[in-house]
Symmetry: C2
Subunit: 233 residues, 2 copies
Amino acid sequence: MPSAKDKGAVNNAHALPHPPAGLNKKTDRMPHFPSAVIRRLALYGRVLQILENNRTEKISSKALAEHMGLNSAQVRKDLAYFGQFGVPGYGYHVRSLRANLKRVLGTDRQLRLALIGAGNLGMALMTYGGFSRQGVRIVMGFDVDRRKAGSLRNGIPIYHVDDLEKRLRRDLVDIVALTVPSDAAQPLADRVGQTGVSAILNFVPCRLMAPPGVRIHDVDLTIEIECLSFYIK
Amino acid sequence: MPSAKDKGAVNNAHALPHPPAGLNKKTDRMPHFPSAVIRRLALYGRVLQILENNRTEKISSKALAEHMGLNSAQVRKDLAYFGQFGVPGYGYHVRSLRANLKRVLGTDRQLRLALIGAGNLGMALMTYGGFSRQGVRIVMGFDVDRRKAGSLRNGIPIYHVDDLEKRLRRDLVDIVALTVPSDAAQPLADRVGQTGVSAILNFVPCRLMAPPGVRIHDVDLTIEIECLSFYIK
DNA sequence: TAGATTGTTAATCGATTAACAATC
DNA sequence: TAGATTGTTAATCGATTAACAATC
């Protein structure tokens, strides 16, 4: 019997990534939905939006699957996780399916987002229109630069990061997007954890420890680039 | 063009005892590697970089797995896809494993990237330092606005999009990042397909048809937001 | 009704994890 | 040598796909 002694030869530096914190797998009391299914739900939504714009009234799982490059059984199964949205012999009513998916994803209500870090990427996101189309409203930005504090960008107020907790709480922010230098990310994530914010969209290329009750979602361009690099070798 | 068409030969002294797993696919030509494995490779690289900065010389699959929140067998299996990088009874030499992974991913050479669309996101990416750290050099930008053409941004020349094909070919661009309005995306992707560019990093929230020989990689913020929305309901 | 298509169960496929001989 | 840890095969787990009774 291999008595694998847990003997970390690594001196644990503070900057090291870490196993994902907290709730995972089946320890959740909530039913677990594969994250791939959730992502496909969002993608179905995009196809349905186009169909609705085209005045298409109904669609079969087979046709929807073809639009997405999937198997029709997978489409039916994905949708059946969340309800019986189809009609046998008919298919799915585009408009109602779309509305149902919005409800399931929670994109039928508005989310309030704050940006921490008003550098280039942060500023770009403030003027980026794509969020508002998905029901996300950027309600404020933060920066360490006192010259930026007090100004507006695209109508969005920028505050000094000293006021972070106060402002996030007062304006009931749901999501924070982190666009700061790597060193600053973890302390800011910890502070965000004190405020009732539910999720962090992390653009910083480092792994963050999630404060309790906060979901962290990484958007890591450098990792994407590295994957691309492999395939174009 | 990156002439490096060479097989990913294992620079380890040991010969591969077996062809890498995944060979028995429909196309016997190139072995197929799960994209999840490729992504983890990039993430291992990040952990190894930190370890190397900390002067850590060796690491076991178990310790590496813990840093990533994975199973140690998975780490060994992921690495073994591409060669025998470890030493039984010892583990992996951090520096050489990191070098090997860079070679496998192709991040040991410089990639040349052009940005199409010098709007907010495009401009932000031009000043974003994260790419250069991963060996990606942004060599030019394009825009439809003739006032932007001819100018520099962060030392990067911006050309008019009329010159797209000419410039991409002349400067041997490897990757194009698309940060344009949705309507413009597909025609531009088609034009890019004529130039020898190997990959498109698509920031536009719509599904593009890949021109032959071009790999498209979507970075879709609105989909990310919708997934987040589901979990914070 | 006859044809079409759903929701769901069973079969298949692929990816993760456990186990262990090889070996440093 | 004795202990540790690899690479690899076998077992398990989960996700995709096929099949089909239900039903509009």
